[in-house]
């Protein structure tokens, strides 16, 4: 539930324990046709704001305000979907792919192309990786982010070609520097208008000559390059490695028997996720994961029945997430966010305490206070989807029974909640 969604809402974990492993696994993996919870989130009006007015014109101020407002709306929209969805897998997988094809609005500048990319990732998040990769080659935000629009026949830019091979499709050390240069030529010809999110292909800027990539000589386009790279065996290995890193363990090495690898033979992501859910590694206690700041925040929202956009104020929310080091649509770089230990500094501990205090003040503690005081310490583990509290956390919680807000704060900042077993 923690790995394939964003944590339980009150009652869901206890229900899952009652239903048993098999039934819960089936429920977690079966994507419903309609997600009523997520559907309550209203799509914000994110529009083409047109070309940026001149620096000193009187239009520039309202324009800049509109740009910023749309980006904030976009962040709130996604956080709300994560917090309110009835079925977490789709949002969770979209989140995974956002970290994989990590594109930042800090360079793209506009909400519209980022929203388009999010829709693409959502469409293919459990589909076929071949289709996803093709769609991403045609994604204006990704192209702009990696300087695709500057890459032409006469001056190919290596940025997109390198990352396509290293970070998106094959993995590091599975190609040479010459392959990077060649891929850059194959990817020439795209042009992007970033405020409208339009991508066009201009054949005059494209390199039509024979290109040799990974030993294969032919003419290439961006799409045929994508198909060619995805067809390589290394692609299945690489996607399995990324699933392992984000869903199993960022510290342990992926065993060669990890089931998603063979499930990815047809590049079917859904099959890989199903295989992962049944892989013995998921029950191995040494495979645990630190909740990233967004994952921790959403899990807290679900327990406290908070709608992120209703928090006062959204700007403060973004500030807290930024202090913790993770704001959706703003990954630090094309490598995406880190994992594990990186989220466990003494400074993060400090920010987590003040963030949790702020959330609890605005949250609903009724699910916690409804648990009889005599059994509250042990039963509160179910409330947050924690298997069991350690003796240290039990001691701290027992001493805070008289103060539900402090009780909740300690539970949310406990090692057992921060780390998902």
């Amino acid at each position: 539930m923690q790995r394939f969604g964003f944590g339980p809402r009150p009652g869901e974990y206890a229900q899952a324990l009652k239903d048993g492993v098999e039934a819960t696994r089936a429920k977690v993996l079966a994507v419903p046709t309609v997600d009523a919870g997520a559907n309550t989130v209203v799509m914000p009006e994110i529009t083409d704001l047109g070309k940026r007015p001149a620096a000193n014109s009187k239009e520039i101020v309202p324009y800049a305000i509109a740009v910023r407002f749309q980006i904030q709306q976009l962040v709130m929209w996604w956080l709300d979907r994560m917090a309110l969805s009835d079925h977490g897998l789709t949002e969770r997988m979209t989140w995974f792919w956002h970290g994989h094809w990590a594109t930042s609005v800090d360079k793209v500048n506009f909400a519209l192309p980022m929203l388009n990319q999010n829709k693409t990732l959502r469409t293919y998040c459990l589909g076929n990786f071949k289709d996803m990769s093709r769609a991403m080659i045609n994604d204006s935000a990704l192209q702009f982010w990696l300087d695709g629009q500057d890459s032409t026949l006469t001056a190919p830019n290596e940025n997109l070609g390198r990352e396509l091979m290293e970070l998106f499709v094959l993995g590091v050390d599975r190609f040479t520097e010459d392959d990077v240069k060649a891929a850059a030529r194959a990817l020439t010809g795209y042009q992007v208008v970033n405020y409208s999110g339009t991508l066009t292909f201009n054949p005059k800027r494209h390199d039509p000559t024979l290109i040799t990539i990974l030993g294969k000589t032919q003419t290439f386009t961006g799409e045929t390059l994508s198909d060619f790279l995805v067809a390589r065996d290394d692609n299945a290995t690489f996607i399995a490695e990324r699933l392992w890193y984000r869903f199993m363990s960022s510290t342990e090495t992926m065993p060669s028997s990890f089931a998603p690898k063979s499930a990815l033979a047809t590049r079917d992501i859904s099959a890989a996720v199903k295989a992962m859910a049944s892989d013995p590694a998921i029950r191995d206690e040494k495979n645990d994961l630190v909740k990233s700041p967004v994952e921790w925040f959403i899990a807290a929202c679900r327990a406290l029945k908070i709608t992120p956009s209703a928090l006062k104020t959204p700007a403060q929310l973004i500030n807290y997430l930024n202090q913790m080091g993770q704001v959706p649509f703003s990954p630090p770089n094309v490598g995406g966010w880190p994992a594990g230990e990186a989220w466990l500094s003494s400074a993060t501990a400090q920010y987590r305490i003040s963030f949790a205090t702020w959330l609890i003040k605005q949250g609903d503690l009724s699910a916690l206070t409804a648990i009889p005081v005599e059994s509250r310490v042990l039963k509160s583990a179910d409330w947050l989807g924690v298997a069991e509290w350690s003796p240290r956390t039990q001691a701290a919680l027992r001493n805070s029974l008289a103060d539900p807000a402090q009780f909740a704060l300690l539970a949310l900042c406990s090692p057992e909640f921060i780390v998902s077993a």
Binding site: W337, P338, A342, L344, S346, T348, Q350, S390, R392
Partner: protein, 410 residues
């Protein structure tokens, strides 16, 4: 990447860094007592590492101002010979580095030329990871100073990085340094503090990550109880600088703030032997001249301010500063008044114990290696020197059997 800052770098690379088991538990009282009762012994050497994120252009920092190739290869961004600050017949400092020039004149600055590592990597992230782990050939998850921390007795205040995320440099296999955000730490008080402290206790069943989560909470308490009162005290006075914050004092930049905190804590006797501070923004692909000069000015001004502050303490002879960046830049300009990622660059080692002067060979502008400046000194020579001469520790646990040294200490 538009701007490469420490934060951005750390967010990527620290993902790969794993820190090991939790340290044994110390109570808040014990730690508070320790800070009062066991200040760093007098005359204990202290290392301050300054990381310049983004790839500082070495040729416009230590400028070969009499070499015609310098002018012909980067006509847009070369400094005029009359503008630079000459420190030898061939080399000069960037015009913005007046403070550093003064320290050079006092023979307190060692400039190590052409520093890098074999098979230079042009990626910010890979190259910085190589520098911070001191393992250019193979990716490893511990940092060079983290491995040194591993060899020392357990103390969360032994190595402290300013800022909220720990740089990989300070991550060890068993232990790691601590992170201290600017402005100090705000922590719960009263009963909540007592209960939070309970959460930080190690338990037998803890996984590695749960132990680390508990440790992070414990370090927060340890740091804040001992450090907080110190941060509220006024900064030591810098006698050489105008007390009404003059323009050249540069007190408003972030690096200056970080070094202010370091100076205060050194003055207070914090039992810390390694400090890590940083400045980002050196990735000058375009419009380099102004951007880099501004940053180098910040470095130079912050350094003279810091050295001035130390003068007012009993520890001015104990502190050594080491400055590095993940790579230098290309010799030729790139057509947008900037430079692209290159290879070697100069390192600075500064302090009263330092034997001022040049070390390492100046890379030739004529005989380039694969189109870039040659590496004439391996950075591990400098690290080994710091470990041996400043931290008075054996080199092998940190760098293996590394033989090279730089003779830049008296």
């Amino acid at each position: 990447m538009d701007t490469v800052t420490r934060r951005k770098f750390l967010k990527l690379t620290s993902g790969a860094v794993a820190v090991g088991a939790a340290a044994p538990l110390l109570s808040i009282d014990q730690i508070a007592e320790a800070a009062i009762n066991r200040p760093l012994p007098a005359n204990t050497p202290i290392l301050v590492v300054i990381t310049l994120y983004g790839g500082n252009d070495g040729l416009n920092t230590v400028i070969p101002f009499t070499d015609p190739i310098y002018f012909s290869s980067r006509p847009d961004i070369s400094y005029k010979p009359e503008a630079v600050l000459p420190i030898s017949a061939e080399l000069a400092l960037n015009p913005a580095m007046k403070g550093l020039k003064a320290l050079w004149d006092q023979k307190k600055v060692a400039i190590i030329r052409g520093v890098g590592y074999p098979d230079s990597d042009h990626s910010h992230f890979s190259s910085m990871a190589k520098w911070q782990t001191a393992s250019p050939a193979k990716h490893i998850s511990t940092g060079w100073l983290g491995r040194w921390v591993d060899t020392q007795s357990d103390d969360p205040m032994l190595a402290i990085s300013l800022g909220s995320v720990l740089p990989p440099m300070l991550a060890g296999a068993k232990r790691s340094g601590s992170a201290l955000p600017l402005g100090g730490l705000v922590i719960p008080k009263g009963d909540l503090a007592t209960q939070c402290a309970k959460l930080s206790r190690p338990v037998a069943k803890d996984s590695k990550l749960m132990a680390a989560a508990a440790t992070s909470m414990r370090n927060l308490f340890n740091l804040s109880t001992t450090v907080q009162p110190v941060l509220k005290s006024p900064a030591p006075v810098a006698p050489e600088l105008p007390t009404t914050n003059g323009g050249n004092a540069g007190g408003d930049s972030n690096l200056a703030q970080q070094l202010d905190v370091v100076a205060k804590l050194i003055a207070a006797g914090s039992p810390t032997k390694v400090w890590s501070v940083s400045l980002g923004g050196f990735d000058t692909h375009a419009n380099e001249a102004n951007a880099q000069a501004e940053l180098l000015g910040v470095v130079s001004d912050s350094l003279s301010r810091f050295m001035g502050q130390l003068k007012a303490t009993t520890r001015s002879n104990d502190v050594t500063i080491m400055i590095y960046s993940e790579f230098g830049r290309r010799v030729a300009g790139n057509g947008s008044q900037g430079t692209d990622h290159g290879t070697s660059g100069p390192m600075f080692v500064i302090g009263n114990a330092v034997k001022g002067g040049f070390y390492g060979e100046q890379p030739s502008l004529k005989n380039l290696y694969k189109g870039d400046l040659a590496v004439t000194t391996d950075f591990r020579d400098v690290y080994a020197t710091m470990i041996e001469k400043v931290l008075s520790s054996p080199v092998e646990p940190t760098l293996g059997k590394w033989a090279g040294r730089v003779s830049c200490f008296n």
